[in-house]
Amino acid sequence: MAEHVVPKKIYYAVWATLMAMTLVTTLVAFVDLGRFNTVVALAIATFKASLVVLFFMGAKYTPRLTRVVIICGIFFLALLLAFSMVDYLTRLWPA
């Protein structure tokens, strides 16, 4: 399989979106949304991270095997975070 060379304009578009999202997340931090400040900030960070992985790191254009490996890694990270947080968050619940 020949290598996929991504057109430059895609990289510029991704860059512009990332910059805009950085501005948005910084501005939202000054609006009091209560608990949702964290949710919004992490949602924007995840959106930005997805753009970086898919386009800058080229995960969108890699062979299926590489994509499976990437998804496995993210799955195990999610497992680590989810199970740890479920444990600690429920410890604070009244018995």
């Binding site: 931090a29 209560g34 992490l42 992985v53 800058f56 740890s84």
Partner: protein, 227 residues
């Protein structure tokens, strides 16, 4: 020797034994790099996990301590890293299209952005040092808010310095690697067929950017407005 045979010779010498062709060799190298980056992801993941757990347990202290972050430097540094990722991506793209001299240019700009990030980080650390916010070195923390504890605020700063410090160490390694790529590209080592090192250093650089994309909101942003 004509140009085409010379390029052909380079093409051949770069193909290692077990691989069928350069494409297969490159795909294997990329896969290996991703596996390495996933081990890095789990290492940073453990730190992120402990940060989230302690933030939950010592919420008031972490909230207060987090307000001592310099939001302006944090936001500017995020933008600097995103710009460096763009120039890195354009540099890798130039390598893929066999434009060696353009690779040198983009890598040099990437280096500049990387050094800017570290310089701003150093300014930030210097301010923390002067504000007695470095754990273990005469740490002081005064707050009138309810439930705020000096020890727990110190834990926030310990996690802050470990996470951003480990990230900065990765930036330093990245700068070293990009310097090496710049020199090799300058010497004309990379061709349209062979440029694995450029792509893999690019992946490493984007990964370091990725870590910062999460560090910025978690350390600087999410505690701003909490009441």
């Amino acid at each position: 020797m004509s140009h085409s045979t010379e390029a052909g010779a380079v093409h051949h010498s770069m193909l290692q034994t077990p691989y069928r062709d350069l494409d297969q060799q490159r795909e294997t190298a990329t896969l290996g790099m991703f596996v390495f980056l996933l081990t890095e992801l789990m290492m940073f993941g453990g730190l992120f996990c402990s940060y989230l757990v302690y933030r939950t347990l010592y919420f008031p202290s972490f909230l207060e301590a987090s307000r001592h972050m310099d939001l302006t430097i944090g936001a500017v540094n995020t933008a600097v890293l995103i710009c460096s990722s763009l120039t890195m991506a354009l540099g890798v793209q130039a390598a893929q299209s066999g434009r060696g001299r353009t690779v040198v240019l983009y890598m040099a700009i990437t280096l500049l952005f990387g050094c800017t990030f570290l310089a701003l980080k150093a300014v930030e650390y210097y301010h923390h040092w002067h504000a007695h916010e470095v754990p273990g070195f005469g740490f002081e923390f005064v707050s009138g808010a309810a439930g705020v504890d000096v020890g727990k605020a110190q834990l926030f700063f310990a996690l802050y310095f470990i996470m951003t410090g480990l990230h900065a160490l990765h930036m330093l390694i990245g700068i070293g690697l990009v310097t090496w790529i710049t020199i090799c590209a300058w010497k004309g080592h990379y061709t349209e067929g062979y440029h694995n090192p450029v792509e893999n250093v690019g992946l490493y650089w984007h990964f370091v950017d990725l870590v910062w994309i999460y560090l910025f909101p978690l350390l600087y942003l999410i505690s701003r407005m909490h009441t």
